[in-house]
C-alpha cells in the first residue's frame, strides 16, 4: 500500500501508512529526517535574521571594546598587535559560548512538547539529535563568517597560508561540534528556559578564564594553570599559531602542544558528553 492513499478524503480519510522499511530505507530516512530538521532550523534564521545579530552581539561588542578601548593598553608581549592576538581568541570564545544556543533550542523544544511530538512520530529517532548537531555546525560556520568579516574590517589579517587558515577555522568548528553534546545534555537536564539562560553565569568564566583575551602567563599561577588547561585556550592558541599571529606562547607542555590539544580536547568532550546526551534522550521514555 502506498502513502498516496492516505490523502484521499477528509483528515481521517484513508488508512495508515505502510509498515517498516528495510535497513537501507532506514538509513535513507535517518538522513532525510535529519535534513528536514536542519531545514527547520535554517528557516528560523531566515524568519529571524536578528537571531544572528543577537548571538553575535556579545562577540562583536567585545571585538570593538578590546580593539578600540582596551587594545592600546594591552601588552601581550613579543610586540604583537592586540587585534592580532584577540581576534583568534574571539573566534574561539564565540564557538565556546555556542553550546548555550544548543541548550536553549533543546529546552524550548522539550518545554513546548515538540520533542515529544517528534518522539511519537514514525520518523528516525536519531534525527532529532543529528539534525540539531548539523544545523548548529552550519549556524556556527555562519557566525564565524560574519565575525571574520568584521575582524577584517577592523584590521585583522591571517598571515598563515590559505590551507592553514582553513584548518584553523575547521578546528574552531570542531570545538563547537564537541560542545553541541554538552548543550544537548544540559538542554535535556534543564527544567525550563530560564534556568538554561542562567547558564551564562557558568559559561562566562569558562570562556574568559582562558587565553582568549590575555596570556595565562599574565594571570596568578593557579588561575593561569586553569586557563592553560581550558579547552578553549588550546583552540585559541592553535588558531593563533595557524594564523601565524607571532604571539609568544608559554613553555608548558599544554601550551606547546596546542594544535594537538585543539583536536584531542573536542574528541574527549565528545566521548564524554555524546553518550551522556544520548542516555538523557533515552531517559525521556522513563
Amino acid at each position: 500500500m502506498s502513502v498516496d492513499e492516505i490523502t484521499a478524503g477528509g483528515p481521517s480519510g484513508g488508512t495508515a501508512a505502510s509498515d517498516p522499511d528495510g535497513p537501507e530505507r532506514r538509513i535513507y530516512w535517518a538522513v532525510a529526517d535529519c535534513w528536514t530538521i536542519v531545514r527547520r532550523d535554517l528557516t528560523h534564521l531566515v524568519k529571524q535574521p536578528s537571531l544572528i545579530a543577537w548571538q553575535l552581539g556579545f562577540p562583536i561588542v567585545s571585538v570593538l571594546l578590546f580593539v578600540y578601548v582596551f587594545g592600546s593598553a594591552m601588552d601581550v608581549g613579543g610586540g604583537v598587535d592586540y587585534t592580532t592576538y584577540a581576534m583568534p581568541g574571539m573566534f574561539a570564545m564565540t564557538m565556546a559560548f555556542g553550546f548555550m544556543n544548543t541548550a536553549g533550542a533543546v529546552v524550548i523544544d522539550k518545554e513546548r512538547g515538540v520533542t515529544d511530538r517528534f518522539r511519537s512520530m514514525p520518523m528516525a529517532p536519531s534525527a532529532v539529535v543529528t539534525g540539531r548537531g548539523v544545523s548548529d555546525v552550519l549556524h556556527a560556520a555562519l557566525d564565524l563568517l560574519v565575525l571574520a568579516v568584521i575582524a577584517l574590517v577592523v584590521g585583522w589579517r591571517s598571515d598563515g597560508g590559505a590551507l592553514a587558515t582553513l584548518y584553523a577555522f575547521a578546528l574552531l568548528l570542531l570545538l563547537r561540534f564537541a560542545l553541541i553534546w554538552v548543550g544537548v545534555w544540559i538542554g535535556l537536564l534543564a527544567p525550563n528556559q530560564e534556568s538554561a539562560n542562567n547558564l551564562f553565569a557558568v559559561a562566562f568564566p569558562f570562556g574568559m578564564v582562558s587565553s582568549v583575551f590575555t596570556p595565562p602567563s599574565a594571570m596568578p599561577d593557579w588561575l593561569g594553570a586553569v586557563a592553560m588547561w581550558n579547552p578553549v585556550s588550546s583552540t585559541a592558541t592553535a588558531v593563533r599559531e595557524l594564523f601565524e599571529a607571532g604571539a609568544p606562547v608559554g613553555d608548558s607542555w599544554i601550551e606547546q602542544h596546542a594544535e594537538l590539544m585543539a583536536v584531542v580536547w573536542p574528541l574527549v568532550i565528545t566521548a564524554v558528553f555524546l553518550p551522556l546526551a544520548v542516555r538523557k534522550f533515552g531517559n525521556l521514555a522513563r
Binding site: V3, T7, S12, A16, E111, R112, R117, M121, L188, P191
Partner: protein, 362 residues
Amino acid sequence: MRTRASDHSVLAEGLRKSYGEKRALDGFDLAVPRGTVYGLLGPNGAGKTTAVRILSTLARLDEGRAWVGGRDVRREPRAVRRRIGLTGQNAAVDEIITARQNLEMFGRLFHLGTARARRRAEELLDWFSLAEVADKQPKGFSGGMRRRLDLAASMILAPEVLFLDEPTTGLDPRGRSEVWQAVRDLAADGTTVLLTTHYLDEADRLSDRLAVIDRGRNVTEDTPSGLKRAIGGDRIEVVAGAAEDIPEIVRAVARVAAEGGEPETDIEELRVHAPVDDRVAALTEAARSLRDAGVAVADIGLRRPTLDEVFLALTGHLAADPADSADPADPATADEAARPAGALDTADEEPGQAGPRSEASV
C-alpha cells in the same frame, strides 16, 4: 488477545508504571472500541497522562500489555507510531516557522515526500479553518488556533487513534468550543479518539464512553448518561430567603425530584437540593409551586455535579482532599513526599500531586 485487539483501537491490560516510589499506574485496564470517542476522566495526578504517554510510545511501561491499532506498544513502537496522532498538553508546534511550514515539516517527517506533504498541509489547513493564517507564525495565534494547528499536525497520517491529552486546558471558552467542534468533526469522520480531561462537561459533551481513573486504577466505565445516572445527574437547587421557608421548599423540591431522589437540606446555607430527570420541567414546576405558596427564594437553579462530587460519589473521597494528605500517619502520604527528582522530566503532573492513598476512604 489479538482478536480483542482487533475490535478495539486501544486495548490495555494491567498497566503498571512507577516513578520511584510513586505508582502512577497501578493495574490500569482500558478498552476503546474502534471508531468511538472515549473519555478518560480523572483529577490531576490520577494517571491519565502516564496512560497516554505509555500508549503513544513516549514512556515505557513497567508491567502489563497494551495494543494500539492492533500493534503491541512495547514490541512494535514504530508500527504504533504510524497509527497514532498525539496532541499533548502543550500545543507542540514550532512557533517561528509558519503554520503551513509546520504541517509540511511534520508531513515530511511522516515520510510523505515533499509534494504529498505540501498537499496534505493544504488539506489540513482548510479542514481546520487555518487557511487564512497559513503563512503566519503560530506565536501570534490565539490558544484555540494554536490547538487546531496542533490537531492538524496530529492528523497528518490520518491516524487510526488520536490521543488528546487535556486538549482544552488553559483555553478560553471560545478556544474550547473551537477545539470541541474540531474533535466532533474528526469523530464524525471515523477517527477513534482517546481524550483525557478533568472537566466533567468536556467528557460529557464529547465522549461516547467514559472511564474514570483515580490513583492509577480504574474506578468505573460507562456511557456519560449512565455515569450521570449513577452519580445522581443534574440537581435542582433552591436557596431559601429565610430558614422558616425551608419546609415549604423541601415539599416543592420533593414534588419535582427524580424517582427515588430525596431532597437534601443544608441548614447552614439554607440550601435544598435534589436530583432531577427533566431539568427544565422540574425547574419551572418548582418555581411555580413556590410562587403559588408565596415563598420568596434567594436563588433557584439547576446544577450539574462537579468533578469533586463525582469522585465523592464514586470513590468516597474528594479528588484532592487536603485533610487526607495532611495525615502523617498515612504511609501512602509519606510516599507522595518522596517524589523522585528524575520524574520531573517525564510526568509533570503525575507524581506528587495525586490524591493520597487512604485505605479507609477507598
